[in-house]
């Protein structure tokens, strides 16, 4: 006869409510895992989009994501001539924040040369850029659709294509425009500012600057070897795709990971305390029954089994409810939440261990109950 199951069945309402509460807490823990995973995926999405093998940036910089980087626009032509490079493209990155439909729309603009590396890998709908001016491919999280138009700077852009899941490490959606348009956006001054600069005798030139050049290599060429060749130009730094990803995950997302890790640890500690208190209270509520069981001769293993089974049932039910909860709402989070099976398994194992430790309090209490408590009214 399973006493734990029967006690749970008898107090089903209370048990379910407790599980729901615990499930919400564990759901938040799982969400924190998911948010971190999403942050990493977001960060890597941008760096993986050009499908590049090599990133060429300003010398002694870890750009274009971790640091700013500016290199001459003709660098791409030089890179294309390096042995092992099959294709190269110039790219620029800049954040914009515009007013649209009464609200603010913040996104990152990537400028690339149509037909060269640097543009979106795939489109959800619409077409690639066909002209060098005033066309834009936007991620669907901007809410823009093909046919929509958008004022950015002093130019109106037409949306011609839509991507999916293209966001920056900070969660902002991405939009692609031609390199020329992006350079104008980045470097062209407003008429008033331009007049001031002219009056100061400063040339308005120098717009042909890019943030990086991405290069694709021949299959059997080692990226490190090509990077070494590029580094011989003193004004350039070459990073392999792996190095670029390491910079993003190890540096750009590092602080967020620490923050989320600490917060998750606190949540887990709170969960452990709550589980321990629940188990302890559940045991306290059964002092008389435990005393009766001891008096009529039930062995300790029966009583310990009841408490431990209830603790594990509580923890695992809470965990499953948490998984169900977070799985059903994860798409409504403003940022990407990525739930991975291994994170679930780790959390389930942690919950199991916490439940076993927490049930120790209840077991200790139960074992200390004097069977004489069952006598004497």
């Amino acid at each position: 006869m399973n006493l734990a199951y029967r006690d749970i069945r008898h107090n089903a309402g209370r048990f379910v409510l407790t599980c729901v509460g615990l499930g919400m807490l564990l759901g938040v823990v799982l969400a924190m895992f998911g948010i971190y995973r999403g942050m990493v995926v977001d960060a890597l999405t941008l760096v993986r989009a050009p499908q590049a093998d090599l990133w060429i940036v300003e010398a002694d910089r870890r750009g274009p994501f971790a640091e700013s980087s500016r290199i001459p626009g003709d660098t791409r032509e030089a890179i294309e001539r390096v042995h092992g490079v099959t294709a190269a493209g110039s790219v620029t990155y800049q954040s914009v924040d515009i007013v649209r439909a009464g609200g603010r729309l913040r996104f990152q603009i990537i400028g690339y040369e149509p037909g060269r590396p640097g543009g979106p890998a795939t489109l959800l709908t619409g077409r690639a850029l066909a002209r060098n001016h005033f066309e834009m491919i936007a991620d669907r999280s901007t809410g823009l659709m093909p046919g929509d138009t958008l004022m950015v700077g002093r130019n109106r852009f037409s949306i011609v294509g839509v991507t999916a899941g293209q966001v920056t490490s900070s969660g902002d959606p991405v939009a692609y425009v031609s390199l020329l348009d992006s350079q104008e956006l980045q470097f062209e001054l407003a008429p008033a500012a331009s007049r001031i600069e002219t009056a100061r005798g400063v040339s308005g030139g120098g717009k042909d600057t890019v943030n990086a050049v991405v290069a694709r290599l021949i299959d059997n060429v080692r990226p490190e070897d090509v990077a070494q060749s590029v580094r011989r130009w003193k004004h350039l730094t070459a990073l392999t795709q792996a190095e670029q990803e390491t910079i993003l995950t190890g540096s750009v997302v590092q602080r967020a990971r620490q923050q989320i890790g600490l917060f998750t640890s606190i949540l887990l500690a709170v969960s452990a305390v709550i589980i321990a208190l629940i188990i302890y209270t559940m045991t306290m509520d059964k002092i008389r029954e435990i005393a009766t069981l001891k008096l009529i001769g039930a062995p300790d293993r029966t009583i310990i089994g009841m408490i431990v089974q209830q603790a594990v049932a509580l923890g695992l039910s809470g965990f499953l409810l948490g998984v169900a909860l977070i799985s059903s709402v994860k798409d409504y989070f403003p940022r990407r939440v990525v739930l991975q099976p291994e994170d679930g398994i780790v959390l389930a194992a942690i919950v199991l261990v916490v439940c076993l430790i927490a049930s120790g309090l209840g077991v200790r209490l139960a074992l200390s109950v004097d069977p004489a408590k069952a006598l004497g009214g």
């Binding site: 006869m1 006493l3 029967r6 001891k294 004489a372 009214g377």
Partner: protein, 240 residues
């Protein structure tokens, strides 16, 4: 301690003493109490508060170690200046049934499960335990409440289920702690009738701690305790 005993008795105590504390704080709860209870007997342990009857019940239940003396339950000498059995809980399970003032049925088990649980703890299969539990409930006249939860049965019915649970392992000794205190006169009478029947039919020795004078005339013998002493022993009616 003497080893010659009245082998017919199911419960036999010789000079059992129990004190708590030492020196100025020493309290003698039991002072050389010697009693014997025979099969088929219902005996009452009565006395004012603090007389030692609960202490004596706890000693016989093997949940309180005496300070000195000798005690035999059924055929086993369980105490001779120290416990002689290592697993007292198993001893209780096999040899002693308990009836409580507030029945102490487990609220999360139905009446049948409350009785069957004791049998399962003794190693009976689930189906065998259930069959025997229903048999006992029928025997005690509460078979119609076999699926009821304790909270939904009356005090009298709950006490009958409690008696069924006490009888489940066919113990030779049943200890009852104020079994009628929470019942009206009619139900108290019914419960005592049932206990008499159990004592007679199962050849069990039943010890009842009680303040309830209404039921004193249902005992075969009454042991009067005062200040830890066995003050007197009174025979009310011999078991038939």
């Amino acid at each position: 301690m003497e080893s010659v005993s009245n082998s017919d008795a199911l419960v036999e105590l010789r000079k059992i003493s129990k004190h708590f504390g030492e020196g100025d704080t020493r309290v003698d709860a039991l002072r050389e109490v010697s009693i014997s209870v025979f099969p088929g007997e219902i005996v009452g342990l009565v006395g004012p508060s603090g007389s030692g009857k609960s202490t004596l019940l706890n000693v016989i239940a093997c949940i309180l170690e005496p300070s000195s003396g000798w005690m035999r339950l059924d055929q086993d000498v369980v105490y001779d200046s120290r416990w002689l059995k290592s697993d007292l809980r198993k001893l209780r399970l096999d040899k002693i049934g308990f009836i409580f003032q507030f029945h102490n049925l487990l609220p999360f088990l139905n009446t049948t499960e409350n009785v069957a649980m004791v049998l399962e703890l003794s190693g009976a299969s689930s189906s065998e335990a259930r069959r025997r539990a229903i048999e006992l409930l029928d025997y005690l006249g509460v078979g119609n409440r076999k699926n009821a939860m304790p909270a939904t049965v009356s005090g009298g019915e709950a006490q009958r289920v409690s008696i069924a649970r006490a009888m489940a392992n066919r113990p030779r000794i049943i200890l009852a702690d104020e079994p009628t205190a929470a019942l009206d006169s009619q139900r108290a009478g019914t419960v005592m009738d049932l206990m008499s029947r159990v004592a007679k039919e199962q050849h069990a020795a039943i010890l009842v701690v009680s303040h309830d004078e209404k039921i004193f005339n249902r005992f075969n013998r009454i042991f009067h305790l005062r200040d830890g002493y066995l003050e007197s022993s009174e025979t009310i009616n011999q078991p038939r």
